[in-house]
Amino acid sequence: MSLLSKSQADGLSGKQPEETEGKWRHGMKSLLKSKTGTLGILIVLVVCIIAIGAPLFATHEPAKISPAQRLLPPMWLEGGAPDHLLGTDNLGRDIWSRIVYGSQVSLIVGIGAVLLSGAIGALLGLLAGFYGKWVNAIIMRVADAFIAIPAILFMLVVLAVLGPGLGTLIFVIGVTNWVSYARVVRGEVLSVKERDFVKAARALGARNGRIIFTHILPNVLSSFIIISTMSVATTIIMEASLSFLGLGIKPPAVSWGGMLSDGRQYLATSWWVATFPGLAITITVLGVIFFGDWLRDMLDPRMKSKE
């Protein structure tokens, strides 16, 4: 409803951002002001810290099997063992420790694949949108071919040839997902290109590279970041789905998706086996989304004052 956005209203105060107050500080301030942003970055940070310091947080070897202790409920429930915080799974492994170690795989795959697909997609999308003509034609035909081949086919084949593993997963998910970045970035570039400031910069004889980086890139960043954050989430889920199809990370490595997938058959009898990794995924996804929203607001030049 607002005709004047918050930042515009800020601008009304007449206060110009002081030179001494760097972008970083400005960012931190705006972060603290946004409640969801704060929540988002807190979640992301906590997950990152847990992933990095996994050995410190885990109470057990994540892959240690003890059939005698299988399917113990969380410790606060009747029958729970005091040393198994969230209970144990069907092979008697400690669920909390597995979630702690699983965060590593989920994050690495999530972020790695998004970086890969984002980099490929943004580059090709920019080139196609900016240069048009035959560059656009070639890139878009390749993109067409890529989306027309079902991702699952590509995944099956690559996993079969390269064998399952973290690198393969990142590669497979990364390479199958670049098209959406490329298309959206290209679409944005096409519309930004028509705007006056780009035309103006061109007329002033700015070099193409300069126009891309100073005028177009910042303008497509908003869409780009939204897809990226959503993609981190998608990728974490995709890893889970691959696990469901038997194509995910293989033991002794552990991932949230794998835990969720393996735990599904205990849903009706031992709910904690699948519920906790499911919660871990959902909470992380929530954090990533909130964090991404804030980041977008921060980075989007169009959201800033323009009085």
Partner: protein, 305 residues
């Protein structure tokens, strides 16, 4: 416009060729179908005999050439697995795949447009936060998980919908929600962001200054602009659902293209894989063209090139 469409259609030819070549290579690097067709006890000699009988002993480029020659005439060969012509086997799956993808998109759109708009209008309120939470949940639950939960709740406990299989429209409800929830989540976020940007535009202020009803301001002036980036995503999503709903198909035992394609890859059933990818590719390219046309219709600033 007509010229543009013709041009786009012509561009599909190299794409289809490219796809066929890629798929041909992909399937061949995964292994020899003969290995999977014979029982474990088969001898080398058995393999050689079968290989020759299927024409798999010839050099790859000859096999590919033969494939292309036949494919152009609509013959993708015989399925090793089903012992029937490949193309009809693929085509008979299309209705199920279209139903599922269509219903999933429908549910996603019906959810995402209102939720995205509300979220943008009520930015940074608890309602917005709640919708963000919903998106995260929709996004944060893998399809197999959503599907199993839906079955437990709506079929086993409440007994409202059938558990699985293809039948009347009631069979479509749970799988469609399963697919739609995840897509809706992503679309909601995109519509929210897009609408937020649009609502700050000056032409929205102009529209209000004209005394237009708020609903017209939102649904005509803002939404029409806000949908431009969304259309691209919707097109992409829909195409990814053609042949890409394997998980949902597996949970609900839905006889779509996904199951066919994956079992064909696993059994190295070349003909089926090629025919399926070819059919999927044509659909995807057609949907892309349609997306492009809609995109151009929505945003008159973009010129036909």
């Amino acid at each position: 416009m007509g010229k543009y469409i013709v041009k786009s259609l012509l561009q599909m030819v190299p794409v289809l060729f490219l796809i066929s070549a890629i798929v041909f290579v992909l399937v061949h690097v995964t292994g020899d179908p003969v290995n999977l067709m014979l029982p474990e006890t088969a001898t080398e000699e058995d393999r050689a005999v079968l290989s020759k009988a299927l024409g798999l002993d010839r050099p790859l480029y000859i096999q590919f050439g033969l494939f292309l020659y036949n494919a152009v005439q609509g013959d993708f060969g015989h399925s090793f697995h089903y012992g029937q012509s490949a193309l009809p086997l693929v085509l008979e799956r299309l209705p199920a795949s279209f139903q599922l993808a269509g219903a999933g998109m429908l549910i996603a759109t019906l959810l995402a447009i209102p939720l995205g708009i509300i979220s943008a209008l009520k930015r940074n309120t608890y309602l917005d936060l709640f919708i963000s939470g919903l998106s995260a949940l929709g996004k944060g639950m893998p399809n197999f998980w959503t599907g199993i939960m839906l079955i437990l709740l709506f079929s086993v406990i409440l007994g409202i919908f059938p558990v699985s299989g293809k039948g009347g429209p009631e069979h479509l409800v749970l799988p469609a929600i399963t697919l739609g929830a995840g897509i809706a989540a992503q679309m909601t976020r995109l519509i929210r962001a897009s609408m937020l940007e649009i609502l700050n535009q000056e032409y929205i202020r102009t529209a209000r200054s004209k005394g237009l009803l708020e609903t017209i301001v939102i649904f005509k002036h803002a939404l029409r602009n806000g949908l431009i980036p969304v259309v691209t995503i919707m097109g992409l999503q829909f195409t990814s659902l053609i042949g890409g709903t394997l998980v949902t198909e597996t949970v609900f035992s839905w006889p779509g293209l996904g199951q066919l394609l994956v079992s064909a890859v696993n059994t190295h059933d070349m003909s089926i894989v090629q025919a399926a990818v070819f059919v999927i590719a044509i659909i995807v390219l057609a949907v892309n063209l349609l997306t492009d046309i809609v995109y151009r219709y929505l945003d008159p600033r973009i010129k036909y090139s």
